[in-house]
């Protein structure tokens, strides 16, 4: 465990820097590598290059890293709440709630740019509903709640299909066309959610022992549950509002984190955050690097949503992780 952790500490910054550089140097519009370097050192005279690198590529990689970290931490917290390592932020139904709110506002006030606050509000409201009605089993209630909310979203979309292109982004999760504003809206959440989650870590270590043991050890389980759920939902809501309901990152990152760093939440939370950030950003690199030729469409489609990539790679990863766990 010790050497794994030190390897992690040494390798992740390298991987992170490599990912950020790859994001800045690669892209659909052709910016020569020296120009990217000049932009980064502030000596570029061509404004178009500076615009592409600083206003398109940089926010995209930052939002990807931030949303990935938030999803992973939210995943750790949700898994702790339901005491089941197979939970993920989507289990709470917050993604479906965000999508419903976005569609609802777009149907009621077409054309207004209320998508961000709507997604955030919808996700938080869903978390509140889950907390109130889900006492018996957060996992089952969350899944059923998500199904109902998704059906309601579809109902609205059938009645008025204008918002569909906007909504598809939220349903799959996509980092295409992120702007500096998205990063401005995201980083305060990172600053609040990540440290709060880490401060809860030792309480989580006690909580996962089970209700009787936790109570016996003097943990006030009611308030702790409420706070953990709130932080988990807030993290997921911020990530979903920024990048959409990306599947599997919140599930796989904590799993890999547990394999590498063990189950102690004081270590698991930061490790998972780093892994989630790298994972989402890497998947995004894959997403915009591949271009597929679809029958029925003349041109190549590039800019596959990142959620499709995480869904594709996530399922086999999940299977192998689960098999390892069952064997252990």
């Amino acid at each position: 465990m010790r050497w794994r952790l030190s390897a992690l500490v040494l390798l992740t910054p390298v991987a992170g820097v490599a990912l950020v550089l790859a994001h800045l140097f690669l892209g659909r519009s052709d910016v020569p590598a020296p120009a990217v370097l000049r932009v980064l050192t502030g000596r570029e005279t061509e404004p178009a290059y500076a615009l592409i690198v600083l206003d398109y590529r940089l926010p995209r990689v930052l939002v990807g890293l931030g949303a990935g970290a938030l999803l992973a931490v939210s995943g750790v917290l949700v898994q702790a709440v339901v005491r089941n390592p197979l939970a993920e932020p989507a289990t709470t139904g917050v993604g479906a709630g965000a999508a419903l709110a976005v569609v609802g506002t777009l149907v009621l006030w077409p054309g207004h740019a209320l998508a961000y606050p709507a997604a955030l509000g919808g996700a938080l409201a869903t978390g509140a509903v889950l907390y109130v009605v889900g006492r018996r089993s957060f996992a089952v209630t969350g899944v059923l709640l998500g199904a109902v909310l998704a059906a309601l979203t579809s109902l609205l979309l059938v009645v008025d299909s204008a918002p569909i292109s906007v909504v598809l982004r939220w349903l799959v999760g996509s980092l295409n066309a992120r702007t500096p504003q998205d990063w401005t809206l995201l980083w305060p959440w990172l600053v609040v959610v990540l440290p709060t989650a880490w401060l809860l870590a030792s309480r989580l270590n006690v909580w996962v022992l089970g209700e009787p043991a936790a109570t016996g050890l003097g943990l006030r389980t009611g308030p702790v549950l409420a706070v953990v759920l709130l932080v988990a939902v807030a993290g997921a809501a911020a990530a979903i509002a920024a990048a959409g309901a990306v599947a599997f990152v919140g599930l796989v990152a904590p799993h890999v984190g547990r394999l590498l760093a063990g189950a102690d939440h004081r270590v698991l939370i930061p490790v998972s955050a780093v892994l989630g950030a790298l994972l989402l950003s890497l998947a995004d690199l894959v997403a915009f690097s591949v271009s597929v030729q679809l029958p029925g469409i003349a041109t190549d489609v590039s800019g596959v949503p990142v959620g499709a990539v995480t869904a594709l790679i996530g399922a086999p990863v999940l299977a192998s992780l689960v098999r390892r766990e069952n064997r252990a």
Partner: protein, 330 residues
């Protein structure tokens, strides 16, 4: 005495309700017909209203019945052999796995003939279902099932959205067929594809009924009764996957019929015996889906809803209520 009445009356009532439901499906809509006119159009090939009644409404109503029946049988088999009240093709990723494959075939125009599509869908269903069953392992905890199934279904849903979004520039009708399930624009060829498979699947479920019932008593008891436990479980899950895949290949992953119909049948019959629940569950499944489709056609006319919306919005609260009363954790 009461049980005998129930055993005769309930299926009889269900059949009568089915007949009424099909008749209503033939009559309602635009143009609205009298029952006599609808029946005349059914029997007379030269009737001026032959096309809407015979070519559009009848195959769709029958497809609802057949698909619902197949889903109910799949749900019952899964719930009983896994001994899990929330096992169902929609929560085991089976339906959505099938839907991904069919959506890919249809949207990207891969030119797979209609007859082969259910088998391709079966491959997707088996992969997704195997993933979920592998991840569930030996636990019977409903929460565990819900979590894994939800993760896999979410991933499949993401893939469907991606495929449909890229391939059709966001065609809503196609999207919802494979995301939620819909019976819109389905005709005789679809019915002819799915009916033999559902009939075979329900027949297999009937043949397996005693063994499956033995499994509900626990693996040890079943083994003591001389039932091959693993073989029965694999066979039952395989039959359920085939049923769900066949339905999903034509109608998409219609949710909560498979979960709800067996629960409803158990509650009405007052028993959990597989062989007694099976016939009524199959009838109720057909009735539920046919009714839901009728409602989806008419509620917001002229806008037609995907039937999956209706089954989810009705199914989830009903499931919660049913499970609360029978003290089965939902």
């Amino acid at each position: 005495m009461i049980t005998i009445i129930k055993r005769v009356e309930l299926p009889g009532l269900a059949v009568a309700a089915l007949a009424v439901c099909v008749l209503a499906a033939l009559c309602l809509g635009e143009p609205r017909l009298r029952p006599a006119t609808a029946l005349a159009a059914l029997t007379d090939p030269a009737h001026p209203l032959r096309v809407p009644v015979w070519e559009v409404r009848l195959p769709r109503a029958l497809l609802g019945l057949v698909a619902g029946a197949g889903l109910a049988a799949a749900g019952l088999l899964l719930q009983d052999v896994l001994r899990n009240p929330i096992a169902g093709p929609e929560l085991l990723g089976v339906s959505s796995g099938a839907a991904v494959v069919v959506a890919t075939i249809v949207v990207l125009g891969l030119g797979v003939p209609l007859v082969v599509q259910p088998w391709a869908a079966l491959a997707g269903a088996v992969v997704a279902g195997a993933l979920v069953l592998l991840a569930i392992g030996r636990t019977r905890d409903p929460a565990h099932v819900a979590l894994v199934g939800a993760a896999v279904s979410a991933a499949c849903g993401g893939l469907v959205v991606a495929v449909v979004g890229l391939g059709t520039q966001g065609n809503v009708v196609v999207l919802f067929r494979y995301l939620l399930g819909s019976l819109a624009a389905r005709g005789w060829p679809h019915l002819e594809t799915v009916t033999p498979l559902v009939a075979a699947g329900v027949g297999a479920a009937w043949l397996l009924r005693r063994r499956v019932e033995a499994l509900t008593l626990g693996d040890d008891v079943a083994a003591g009764l001389g039932v091959p436990v693993t073989r029965t479980r694999v066979a039952a899950v395989g039959v359920a996957a085939l049923l769900a895949a066949a339905v999903a290949s034509v109608c998409g992953p219609v949710a909560f019929v498979a979960l709800l119909a067996p629960h409803l049948a158990r509650r009405l019959l007052g028993t959990v015996s597989t062989r007694r629940v099976l016939p009524l569950a199959v009838l109720l499944g057909g009735l539920l889906l046919a009714l839901a489709d009728l409602a989806s056609r008419l509620l917001l006319y002229p806008v037609e809803l995907p039937v999956g919306i209706a089954t989810t919005l009705v199914g989830v609260p009903a499931l919660v209520l049913l499970s609360r009363r029978t003290a089965v954790p939902a």
